[in-house]
Symmetry: C2
Subunit: 196 residues, 2 copies
Amino acid sequence: MFEGPLAELIEALQRLPGVGPKSAQRIAFYLLKSPPSAAEGLAEAILNARRRMGFCRVCFNLAEGEVCRICQDPRRDPRTLCVVEEPKDTLVLEKAGFKGRYHVLGGVISPMDGIGPEDLRIKELLARVEGGEVEEVILATNPNLEGEATALYLARVIRPLGVKVTRLASGLPVGADLEYADELTLGRALEGRREL
Amino acid sequence: MFEGPLAELIEALQRLPGVGPKSAQRIAFYLLKSPPSAAEGLAEAILNARRRMGFCRVCFNLAEGEVCRICQDPRRDPRTLCVVEEPKDTLVLEKAGFKGRYHVLGGVISPMDGIGPEDLRIKELLARVEGGEVEEVILATNPNLEGEATALYLARVIRPLGVKVTRLASGLPVGADLEYADELTLGRALEGRREL
């Protein structure tokens, strides 16, 4: 239905997360209609990001240079290390006001997908903890099956190093309605209840 | 918050239609996580589409070569010419089963935006109609203020050439609920009522 290069562009756009056939068409037509600089700028930005962004050699978050900005920032507390699955997980923690440092695993342990501990940055995490500065490791993997299993595994291997290991609290989201809470979440909220 | 090239990529993505800050972040992280070929393929597809797609010199729809596929297709009826605002408008008409040819204006008359008839492909439309093959011109500009005004203008300049000029019907969308129809649409539906 579409001529070659347009069809190929729509197909490439459709592979992006959250972009369906309709939005892909809309974006493709936009790119063909806007001044050439818009399309070229986007292509350039994509290539540039791929070329210039790598992984921080300390925490494995995305970084432009060898070491990311957070690891370079002397105001960030090196005693608290927050372990996350993916670089994007740091975003919401930054917004929540976390002031320590991160360690990005690069995934979760998932036997179904053939991903074991050795495929993640766990060796590097243990080395950082052994380095001596870290006093607390916050396990902030996702509260789902793989995330929980990974957190349990990490707790087991980190605890012998003599640092405090904590997990993000599970419970009711702020502003939520008890009536609509799922049983699992409510169960966790009950377990984790605190004295007022 | 993001390092240079990543921030620039997110910004470039955010300019696309229908892509908000959240989706831009999600797409950027996806492009950095997926194999380099995915990002490069997308950048290439964008540049390729810009480089290789131009306008059909007959109907001004998007085309890879000099003349688009529809204008080249001998099975398409040259007697019925459907006038649309933008290339993307032909998509839905194709889906609706239109079998004639198109003429893409490249916009609508809009004094507010300083767009007059001379800024659109109207001269070329009149030349096609004067060519003699066309028997009916269907004005399929959008049913809004500018679209209607453009259709009225076109009807006035085409009619003297002795061809039939029609407009897409306005009325209730199929499957719509009378209760929720707006007055204007319902007014049009009443005006355009047909005997059964």
